[in-house]
Subunit: 396 residues, 2 copies
């Protein structure tokens, strides 16, 4: 182990390469030790078995400076959970999903970003529009029209920059003078898909191009599925415009549901194979049918609206916590620090879950990690920026 710890940026850049996302064990390990110490420990191989399992293959690759330089060459930078622009509220839903037993749910270690680095603000009011690459003219038209109309209403359009529905969505938002975010399944400096190189430049100029993969990471099928969880997470609701029966878009929709997000589906002719996935989502009760921008805005807006209702009920900061998180919170002490192991013993909640809950409690101001360990906070100043974006939505 080196005597001096790396900077947070170098540490996160290193950690973003050391494990293939999603890496819940690594994310929990970073939350426990902080990114700088975690990076040093991973590099030195001084990690528990679950972390070693996902980091050992790449632990010795130390090239954060090179990665940051490669990113800078395409005008990209690293945004970390320690930055103001980190979309903490949106990504909290991963912690909530993990608490509910979704072991594969994990927020990214860091995000490589071209364009506006304030992802928190950029995705504050956002809708994901996703669908088939082999879209029909009907689907592309619908995607562009919806993105255009939603962008004009102030929604940021999140999508995956693919051919077909994705590209039409980004294009519609840009044409409306609105904002849009593309989440990639490869390195931020990898021009994919090749035909969308210019579109990606325009997206970066009208919002941001985002990837959790370090520069140079090549396209791979499984990375699109992993990437899809970020598209779902970064938006309040996901609209599936066209999708085959087993498609990436249906996968994004499933993730969105897991994360407690609204899923909407656009109908089409029953004779179109590209609408089969959308119809199945509606029939199975997994998506709400939508046919217009107004319906989407109403559906997505409703999430916050419901929670904002009944203002006479006093809100305590812990009201948003599910029973397990509450037990973790109660196991903490105000005046003395505890290790996650102590909290696990005290609360009876398994250590892995305690490690997932603690950083979430910290994010909402209900816990703090100091030199002596984790302490309880009253949470009086919990950031309740938007009724629909907070942990209440995600955890329920």
């Amino acid at each position: 182990m080196t005597d001096e710890l790396p900077s947070v940026e170098l540490a996160r850049a290193y950690l973003s390469r050391v494990a293939e996302p999603p890496a819940p064990a690594l994310v929990a390990f970073i939350a426990q030790h902080g990114p700088q110490r975690a990076a040093a420990l991973v590099r030195a191989g001084k990690v528990p078995a679950d972390v070693a399992k996902v980091t050992s293959a790449r632990a010795r690759i130390w090239r954060p400076e090179e990665d940051l330089r490669a990113a800078a060459e395409v005008d990209a930078r690293l945004v970390t959970p320690e930055d103001d622009g980190w979309p903490a509220w949106r990504l909290l839903s991963f912690t909530a999903a993990a608490i509910r037993g979704r072991a594969d749910a994990a927020e990214p270690v860091a995000l490589w970003v071209r364009g506006d680095p304030d992802l928190a603000e950029l995705t504050d009011q956002s809708v994901a529009i996703v669908g088939a690459r082999a879209a029909t003219g009907y689907g592309e038209h619908t995607s562009a029209e919806f993105a255009h109309g939603l962008a004009r209403r102030g929604f940021t359009i999140v999508s995956g920059a693919a051919y077909g529905i994705d590209g039409a969505a980004h294009g519609g938002a840009i044409a409306a003078g609105g904002r849009t975010v593309a989440v990639l399944g490869c390195g931020i400096d990898v021009p994919y898909p090749a035909g969308h190189t210019r579109l990606l430049d325009r997206i970066a100029g009208a919002g941001a191009v985002v990837s959790e993969y370090p520069p140079g990471t090549r396209v791979a099928r499984h990375r699109f599925l992993v990437r899809n969880r970020l598209i779902a997470a970064l938006a309040e609701g996901t609209v599936v415009v066209e999708a085959g029966l087993r498609s990436g878009a249906s996968n994004t929709a499933a993730t969105a549901r897991t994360l407690g997000r609204m899923v909407l589906a656009v109908p089409g002719p029953i004779t179109s194979a590209m609408s089969v996935g959308c119809h199945a989502l509606v029939r199975d009760g997994e998506a709400q049918l939508v046919t217009s921008v107004a319906e989407i805005a109403e559906s997505v807006g409703r999430i916050g609206g419901d929670l904002a209702a009944d203002p006479e009920v006093p809100v305590r900061p812990t009201d948003a916590l599910d029973p397990r998180s509450l037990r973790v919170h109660q196991a903490l002490r105000e005046r003395a620090g505890s290790t996650p192991e102590q909290v696990s013993l005290e609360s009876g909640i398994p250590l892995g879950q305690v490690r997932a809950v603690l950083p979430m409690l910290e994010l909402v101001g209900l816990a703090r990690c100091g030199d002596t360990g984790w302490r309880r906070c009253s949470g009086g100043s919990a950031p309740r920026k938007r009724a629909g974006g907070g942990p209440t939505t995600s955890i329920t």
Copy 2:
């Protein structure tokens, strides 16, 4: 009042003309007095105010022989509740709806029928397919395909013989060698729509053309809406293929729901005005989205399937009754007859509802109307022909 009572057929033919349907007061009056006595009383003007209100204008028009002759000229005959072919199980839902407070719900006084007079058997396994007259090619194609596929699976296709979706549905069923029923909003001898004269002949040959209006009754807008309730009632489920936002098809769908029937809607392009009504039905939770014959068969079949489940639970004939009907049943005596007024007093159920419930109880074998009034039956031989067609479905 004449000394001799008319035959049931003449009485029902007269009563089918004397009030504009739906005529719940008249139907209840007939149930109370029997058709022959009721006809004589209506003709003599010796009726309560609510019956007088709907019959006084036409009470003196006595032309049942002429009507039966006019019907015979187009090979039609009168089917009455006293006939074996009367679709009693299907029409029971009106009684059930009336009990639930739907004052406008009333079964027809009689049905004028061209083709197969055994409507009970003909509609035993049936699906209604309805939709816009100004249908698109997509809609007509879908209607014909669905009707064809359902007819091949043994379903009778019920529709309204109109241009567009209706005509395509009848045609699809006939092309499949299946059975189909057209319900008209005018007299059985009125060739409407003019362009469907030959289609109506073919429908009569492949099932039945049905109307509750006496011969010669002209087409009127309100009669289509009244007719729609019969289309909904005569089928286990109603499929809306294409519909504008406020359309006759949406009206049929609303009636179908009132009658406790399954409503299904076919999606289409969001750019098509003819699919707006279908999408609204799905969005509002008033219809289930369907995209194939298999899905329709599954949805409609499910009605009976659910009820047929758990065969170990012993079934008593009165299990199917809702609380009010049960109280009426219990207020009857086995060994002595009661008037509806006595039953109302005994049960505490309002007289109007008692009058609606008693004929229903008679149909399911739980009551009998004799010379001395209504008596209770044990219902041991209650006709439980099909789990899905009985009063359980309709009343719940």
